[in-house]
Structure formats: structure tokens, C-alpha cells
């Protein structure tokens, strides 16, 4: 799940005028503020049950030997830090952690982010027809359900797929991408699928940059790259940090794309943390161990989430 309370939204910012109506000049009594909080109850119950609940359950479950079947399924035993100790000594864990970092950096931070920014910059000055062709294709890849995108990418990279067909057309050796370079395939697939998001964020941000400012830079003699680095990028830096946080969080939870394309293989060579947790818990039946991996992922997500809140600072206008 991913989302954007972004600064770029325009319509979305709360106007200050919409604050507490002036009608009630007295200080609210405790009873009244309690009564006013009643509409929050359904949301609070849902969030407590199904968001906070699993988080607490995750921490608790990571200290048990819960499994898919057998006695440990119905009555798991408390095993203390065993799962975490096993995690530290398991050579597959650093592998999954490393592949997750590679996946995050190459597909999100570098791929989606720079391609998105590049497309937004180029389309801003492009003819309308070109712009709409780019927007339609890039955004369609993003709107498709994840599993459909995964099939399309699977077919594209498979040994008798479109990519090898094109390589054959220029007399290059065909490569079994999904087996020989599984990480490259899933990284490119995630760039294909996710770039639209960054592109739209940056398009909105660039729209807010006043043309006078870039014009002034042109008059001062700043060339294209200088203008980009010293004028445009500083002006949209809030959008850049928001976008980086969001695509990192989105990419951290990518499961279906990799699961369909490579199932983490061959030989765990594309096993990122979500795939690792799934394989341990449901493939090998080690639910407690999978839960410990899940807890580690939640911690990583929580760190990014806190960073993201600090960037966004909702307290400024709420």
C-alpha cells in the first residue's frame, strides 16, 4: 500500500480558513470533545484490529516457533530470541537484505526517480502529441493490476520472449534473462511499472515552478544543465524527497512482480525480503521465522515512514 499526501497535489492542502468555526468561543468541555470523537470509532477499531494488531502480533509471533502444520501450528511455544539468532546466522538473510537494497537503489532511487524526472522535464517542452503518447504508455503500465504487469514482463524477458526476439533481429546472442540475470529483469520490470508515479509527481512539481525564474536564469546565461541543477532542482526539492520516500516504501513491499517473474530464483538470486519471508513461512512452514523476517521489514518500513513524516510535517497545517 502506497500513497501520497504530497505537497504537489494542489487541491489537497487544507486551507487555514476551514479550521474550527468561530461559533464556539468557549473552551470545549471534556465531555463534548469525547462526544465529538465518536465518529472516529469505526476507523480506530479497524486500524487497531487490522493494522496495529498485526504489528503487535508480528513482534509476538517472532518470539515463537509457530509453524504451518504439526503441533507448533496449534500451540506454538515461546522460543525467545531463537528466530533472531537464526536470522543472524542464516546466510540467506544477508543475501535477501542485500538484494532488497540493490532492488531499492537501482529500481526506485535511480531508475524510477531519474527516469521519472527526465520524462517530466522533457515532456514539459515537448509537442502535445508526443507528450500524450508518452503519458499514455507510461501511465498504462502503472495502472494495470500488478499481476498483469508481472505477466507482461515475464513474457517480455522469457527465453522466447520479445526481448530475445529483438536481440535476434540484430544478430545478438539470446539470453535467458530470468535465469541468467534475474535481478536485472525484475529491476527493469519495476522501473517499467513504477516510473509513471515519479513522472506525475515531478510534472506537478514543475508546473508550480514560475516560468519567470527559469527565464531569469536564461537571461543570466545559465545553460540547460546549469539551469536544471541550480534552479529547477532546488525549487522542487520537497517533491524530490517526498517522491523518494514514497517510491522507496512502495518498492520495499513489491512482492507479486518478483513472485510471478522469478519466484525469487534461481537459487535465491532474486529473493528480496518479502519473497524471503513468504518462502520461509509458507514454503518451508516456518511461520515463526517468517514472522521474525516480517518484523525486521516492518522496522525498516517504520524508519522510512518516520523519515517521510519528518519531510512532510503534517503539523504545519493540520
Amino acid at each position: 500500500m502506497t500513497a501520497t499526501p504530497t505537497r504537489t497535489g494542489g487541491a489537497g492542502r487544507p486551507p487555514q480558513a476551514a479550521r474550527r468555526p468561530a461559533a464556539a468561543g468557549r473552551t470545549p468541555t471534556a465531555r463534548r470533545s469525547l462526544r465529538r470523537a465518536v465518529p472516529l470509532v469505526p476507523a480506530v477499531v479497524l486500524l487497531a484490529l487490522f493494522m496495529l494488531g498485526p504489528v503487535i502480533w508480528s513482534v509476538y509471533g517472532s518470539f515463537t516457533n509457530a509453524s504451518l502444520s504439526g503441533t507448533a501450528a496449534s500451540s506454538p511455544r515461546f522460543v525467545g530470541l531463537d528466530n533472531y539468532l537464526a536470522l543472524i546466522t542464516d546466510p540467506d538473510f544477508p543475501n535477501a537484505l542485500w538484494l532488497t537494497v540493490v532492488f531499492l537503489l537501482l529500481s526506485a532511487v535511480i531508475g524510477q526517480n531519474f527516469l521519472g524526472l527526465g520524462l517530466a522535464l522533457l515532456t514539459a517542452a515537448a509537442p502535445k502529441a508526443v507528450r500524450s503518447v508518452v503519458a499514455t504508455t507510461v501511465v498504462t503500465a502503472w495502472v494495470l493490476p500488478e499481476i498483469v504487469a508481472a505477466f507482461a514482463c515475464y513474457a517480455f524477458f522469457s527465453s522466447d520472449g520479445t526481448l530475445n526476439r529483438m536481440l535476434a533481429a540484430v544478430n545478438a546472442e539470446p539470453v535467458d534473462w530470468l535465469f541468467t540475470y534475474p535481478m536485472a529483469a525484475v529491476i527493469l520490470a519495476n522501473i517499467w511499472r513504477g516510473t509513471a508515479f515519479s513522472m506525475m509527481i515531478y510534472e506537478a512539481a514543475l508546473n508550480d515552478v514560475a516560468p519567470e525564474i527559469t527565464e531569469a536564469a536564461v537571461i543570466d546565461g545559465a545553460g540547460g544543465w546549469k539551469r536544471l541543477i541550480y534552479v529547477t532542482v532546488p525549487m522542487i526539492r520537497n517533491s524530490i524527497s517526498t517522491n523518494l520516500m514514497l517510491i522507496t516504501l512502495q518498492t520495499l513491499s513489491v512482492f507479486t512482480l518478483i513472485f510471478v517473474m522469478t519466484s525469487g530464483g534461481p537459487n535465491q538470486r532474486s529473493t528480496t525480503l518479502p519473497i524471503f519471508a513468504y518462502a520461509e513461512a509458507f514454503g518451508l512452514g516456518k511461520v515463526g521465522y517468517g514472522t521474525a523476517i516480517a518484523t525486521v521489514m516492518l522496522l525498516i518500513g517504520a524508519v522510512f515512514s518516520i523519515l517521510y513524516i519528518r519531510v512532510l510535517k503534517p503539523g504545519d497545517n493540520s
Binding site: 499526501p5 497535489g9 468555526p21 469505526p42 508526443v130 505477466f151 519471508a277 518516520i306
Partner: protein, 280 residues
Amino acid sequence: MTTSIASPRRSVSRGVSSAVLLAVAACFLLPLAWLLLASLDTKATASLNLPAEFSLANFSAVLTPEQTLWPLWNSFLLSAGCAVITVLAAVLAAYPLSRHQARYNKPFLYGVLFGTGLPITAMMVPVYSMFVRLGQLDSVATVALFMAATSLPMAIWMTKNFMDSVPVSLEEAAWIDGASAMRALRTVVVPLMRPGLAVVFIFVFIQAWGNFFIPFILLLSNHKQPAAVTVFNFFGQYGSVAYGQLAAFSLLYSIPVIVLYILVTKGIGGSFATAGAIKG
């Protein structure tokens, strides 16, 4: 960002940038074109081919009740159920957050924002064992509630922002006429923010419709599975044999979200909708 100063190099660089853009668009188009052409080709392979003859045979092969119609109906039930629950809870929660200055507002909104960042895929193993313990595995209603909870943080955030832009003065008039807060919400605020609520509803619906992992883990019976899971099972069984049918099924399953997306962006949305409607 428009450069309004003409320079001699401009038309050349414009041509170059258009060429680059079209090349990128072509790369993005290839996998999409495969979906479309393979679905119309009875002899489709994994590679992009122009069909020898265009036929709708793949579509008629997959358009059977058990293969497509029931799974799509299941997807609809799950997504619509999730979206209705989410929007109701979000509107109710957004009202006090938007209209009253209370001590709990800030921590609550911080909590909500924090929730939007949690990786739901990371939670699926503990959620599975929690569902086992609660005896809720294979229950469509509980899965819809769970999915509603996962989309709720974002929905509350969006709904509150939309509600903030509805002027308070109209409600004050309703209050003076003796309407309660809930009545003012129902008769004044909600009708005024209908486009915003549609955006939230569609956003949640699209996310739920495309979700594969949650029903894959939490639903067991075949007849309850949404299209995302049945298309995956089909792929596992026949995928490499029947690429054409796989593509046809994928397209049938994708059309609703594409239509809804166009509705939001062209009809009600604007830039906020596009920036807000994010995949899972």
C-alpha cells in the same frame, strides 16, 4: 516549466528530446502491445508477434462462468466491499479531524500518516497466523475488512484534505437551523464533496481490485478467489501453453481499473487524483 525565450538551438533540441521521448515510450509500449496482440492471436507465444489472423477465440475460450465471470464477480465483491467500508469509516473519521481543533488530532494524523508508510506485504505472514488464530481464514468479509483497514490511513488523509476545502459557513447555517453535526455532515458536507469521495472510493477500489497477495494468502476456497488469484493459478497450470488465453484473461481483468482510472483523471480528478491514486 515553459521556456518562453526562443533560441536558435531550440528547435533542434526539441526534435532530439521528442525522439528520446518516443524511444522511451516505445520501450514502455512493447510489453503492453504483447498483451493486446497475444490476446487476439490463437497461436500466441511469449514474444510480440503480429497475429496471422485476428480472432476473438481467446476471449470466448476464457469467458466461461468458472474461469472469468465468477472470479471477476468475487473481485468486485471484495473491492466494492472494501471501498464502501473504507469510505464510510474515512468520512466519519475525517469530520471531527477537519472541523474540530482537538488534542487528539495531531497524534491521530501522525499515526495515520505513519500507517500509510507501513509495508503491507511485510505484514502478511503475521496477518496469516493472526487469521488462523482468530478462525477467520477463508472469510471474504474479514478479508474485506482487513483490506479496508490497510487502505484507511490513505483514505482518511485524502478525505480530510477534501473536507477541509468545503467551507464551514454552509454547515453553520445548518447548525443554526438546528441540525446535528451528523445531519450536517450527511446533508451538507457529503453532497458538496461528492467528487472528492468518488476519487477516494475509486482509488481504494483500484487498489483492492489489483491486490493479489492478500487474497492469495488469506482465502483458501477456489470459488471465493478474486480474478487476481485465479489468473495466477491459470498461469501456473497453462500459462506457457496458452499465452493467448492468459493475455485475454489479463485484459478482461484490467479493463475495469483502466476505465475507472480514466473516469477519475478526465472526469473528476485533476492533478490531485492522479497524484493520489497509487497502486499497491
